[in-house]
Amino acid sequence: MPTQNILLVGVGGQGTILASKILAEVAVMQGLDVKMSEVHGMAQRGGSVVTHVRMGEQVHSPLVEEGEADFIVAFEKLEALRWAHYLREGGSIVVNDQRIDPMTVITGQAPYPPEILETLQADAEEVVVIDALQLAREVGSIKAVNVVLLGALAQKMQIEKSQWLEAIRRIVPAKALDLNLQAFEAGFQGAGIAAQADS
């Protein structure tokens, strides 16, 4: 299998770090070389955050480069737009249909770009739009947005579903496990439906 490059992008505090932990665990379970890079610190305070995940026979750089991502999982629409040029030709982008205004928009320094989803669809081959916040709310906690989105990614990747569930079991603490398994399922099904509606 050629190296798979995945970007998780979002807003600091949205739980990209837990999502990337689970994703990395799945990758390790495939017996692949894995590298993952993320930035802690200031950006975690509501700034733009990105996690790079790469898996393959042998991976050197921990960073996904522009035009190289097979998958982008965007936890927020504006962040999808910010990172979309990292997608390779034929890559897929899973985007949470949620808007979080950055302070530059709140203070009126810049408008929130209109029609982000349309822009993404015009440029990328596959755009899976999913209302992860709503799905997370339905399973019982808006904090589970991250695992809903992982479910949606899993629908698109060539990795057995059982492996994802196992990884969640290994990473998520027992008391939050049920909720997160449900959140995963909701995302998995949600992305399936979104893809059908698209075709």
Binding site: V39, R45, G47, E65, H85, T107, Q109
Partner: protein
């Protein structure tokens, strides 16, 4: 089976496997998780120190006493610890000592981009630069043995992409943990001029030994490929080179002070075109050029910011990959104070009162950004207090308009001496200590004021107010920052008072104490669209079509917005 570890986790694991008994640090991105993870190994005495100098000195004591020791800090922390470091380099070790410097190319979470490899040369201490987590762990072990073999502290220099990238690591069983005996030796450990001069001579002998070691060090190795292109590289840059130039010959340097001149010469002679590819300063390049070798480096590769595979490819005019175009007009998303952050009302008031604010380092530095926009300076840890004094000395007429703002952890780190200076030299500054009971920005570590140790065990809690009184501040006050009326009156009165005062705004960080308040929403009947609430910069509030709205997914119900709204438009939801 291999385990996926960040560089920081791997360094902690290295401390465990290679017999470290004592480890100390002050939190600082990207180094923080090293000591957090060392804390998992109950065999190691792990601690947060008030600052990096103290951490370094604890480590020096532990090393001289005979234990293997690790001390970790971010790049600018080494500036703080430089004093003990430089002279300890003269004295040398008993138990091995490794100092981890985590540099931050690209300044993801730092105020500068200094390249701490220069410290190795400056302090004359050997340096190791790992390229992934496996090496990060191995080099802890190697560093400890080099330290003991050559009687010298060792610098383990990592960068953000090493510290915060996960790569696979083979774990080993720990070696026995035994501290050596301490033997009194004042010629070695008492660095007064007569003894230091002898040590100064020994430094040169040691340099010669280390130089010889560098030539044969297994971590300095050549990976032969095509001989038309040769690259000398180290650290994370090695990984980028492997992808940008998969067929080139590479001299990978893991031991980078002193550098192996013979090996470099040999390599240079065997390749047609020689490049040196390194992040930030031309550290390797300058050395190679002084050897008289023709090498291409910073004239084509940037010295500012991080490198990447693409940047290297572009610099070499390699085949350009087809890259989608970057979307235009994407508004930036700067970090912000969290919804419910206890610092928010303080900065709102400082802006309203139009004060000159010397700031400091922590989450609250974000108070400098619009719309809060209430900070004039931020230079380094602890600078806010002395800078307010300096400002007052330069412009006595503005003393009544000046406040210093510092967090609790930063105050303990290096604010105390500044406060003493204000009292001693007749300053009248008002100092705001924003006490959120944690070291928030780096991910909520304990500090001497929280009453808990690194392992969150109870310990004596520093009484910050009593301390301020003890150094001679007569006017000290503790107030809840959410009491905005009270705080405003207090600040106004204290800046006008011609003697030093300290106002401690006390409320825990919203991320450590869960809020259970009902959320707020805005009654659109009452909202007149004045945008007053937009001035507090809460990410939960947005404004469209002349009405403000609260995002219930972000609001935590702190009620600060309701205090600034003049039309009572904010209402508590029932939870």
């Amino acid at each position: 089976m291999k385990t996926l570890l960040t560089g920081n986790e791997a360094i902690a694991r290295g401390a465990y496997e290679y017999g470290v008994t004592v480890a100390a640090a002050y939190p600082g991105t990207p180094s923080t998780e090293i000591l957090e993870n060392v804390g998992q190994y109950s065999e190691i005495k792990a601690q947060w120190s008030p600052n990096e100098k103290v951490a370094m000195e604890v480590a020096v004591g532990s090393s001289i006493a005979g234990a293997r020791t690790l001390v970790a800090m971010k790049h600018v922390g080494v500036n703080v610890a430089a004093d003990p470091l430089f002279t300890f380099a003269y004295a040398g070790v008993n138990g091995g000592l490794v100092l981890v410097s985590a540099d931050d190319p690209g300044m993801h979470s730092s105020q500068n981009e200094q390249d701490n490899r220069n410290y190795a040369k400056f302090a004359k201490i050997p340096m190791l630069e790992p390229s992934d987590s496996q090496e990060a762990k191995d080099y802890v072990g190697l560093g400890l043995s080099i330290s003991e073999q050559f009687d010298v502290p060792v610098l383990l220099r990592v960068t953000t992409r090493i510290s915060h990238s996960k790569t696979l690591v083979e774990l080993r069983d720990p070696m026995p943990r035994t501290a050596k005996a301490y033997v009194k030796d004042i010629k070695k450990y008492v660095m007064m001029p007569a003894f230091a001069r002898q040590k100064r001579m020994q430094l040169e002998e040691r340099y010669a030994h280390l130089k010889a070691y560098s030539e044969t060090a297994p971590v300095n190795r050549i990976e032969w490929g095509n001989r038309r292109v040769g690259v000398i590289t180290s650290g994370i840059a090695y990984q980028y080179v492997k992808e940008a130039l998969p067929s080139a010959s590479i001299l990978k340097l893991g031991f980078t002070w002193p550098l192996p001149n013979q090996l470099i010469k040999e390599f240079a002679a065997a390749v047609e075109k020689l490049y040196v590819i390194e992040e930030n300063e031309p550290y390797l390049e300058d050395h190679i050029k002084t050897m008289g070798l023709a090498v291409v480096g910073k004239e084509i590769f940037p010295s500012v910011g991080e490198l990447s595979v693409r940047i290297i490819e572009r610099a070499l005019d390699g085949p350009l990959q087809t890259v989608g175009k970057r979307a235009a007009n994407v508004p930036v998303r700067p970090p912000v104070l969290c919804p419910g952050c206890p610092h928010r009302p303080v900065f709102y008031l400082l802006k309203q009162l139009q004060l000159f604010v010397t700031g400091d380092i922590g989450c609250y530095t974000l108070g400098a950004l619009p719309p809060l926009d209430a900070m004039d300076t931020c230079i380094c840890m602890g600078a806010s207090l002395p800078m307010a004094l300096g400002f007052e000395k330069a412009h006595p007429e503005l003393a009544e308009k000046t406040v210093a703002v510092i967090g609790d952890s930063t105050f303990v780190h290096s604010g105390i001496t500044g406060l003493i200076d204000i009292v001693y030299n007749g300053g009248t500054s008002t100092v705001l200590i924003l006490d959120n009971s944690t070291t928030a920005m780096t991910g909520h570590q304990e500090h001497p004021g929280t009453g808990k140790t690194l392992r969150r065990e109870p310990t004596a809690a520093l009484d910050i107010e009593a301390l301020c009184k003890a150094v001679g501040v007569k006017r000290t006050f503790v107030i809840d920052p959410f009491d905005m009326e009270g705080l405003k009156t207090l600040i106004k009165r204290e800046v006008a008072t011609r003697e030093p005062s300290v106002i401690i705004t006390k409320r825990p960080c919203v991320l450590i104490v869960k809020q259970d308040e009902p959320l707020l929403s805005i009654d659109h009947e009452k909202c007149v669209g004045c945008k007053m609430c937009m001035r507090i910069g809460c990410p939960a509030i947005s404004h469209a079509n002349k009405k403000s709205t609260v995002n219930p997914a972000l609001c935590v119900g702190c009620g600060v917005c309701a205090q600034v709204c003049k039309f009572n438009a904010f209402v508590r939801e029932v939870r």
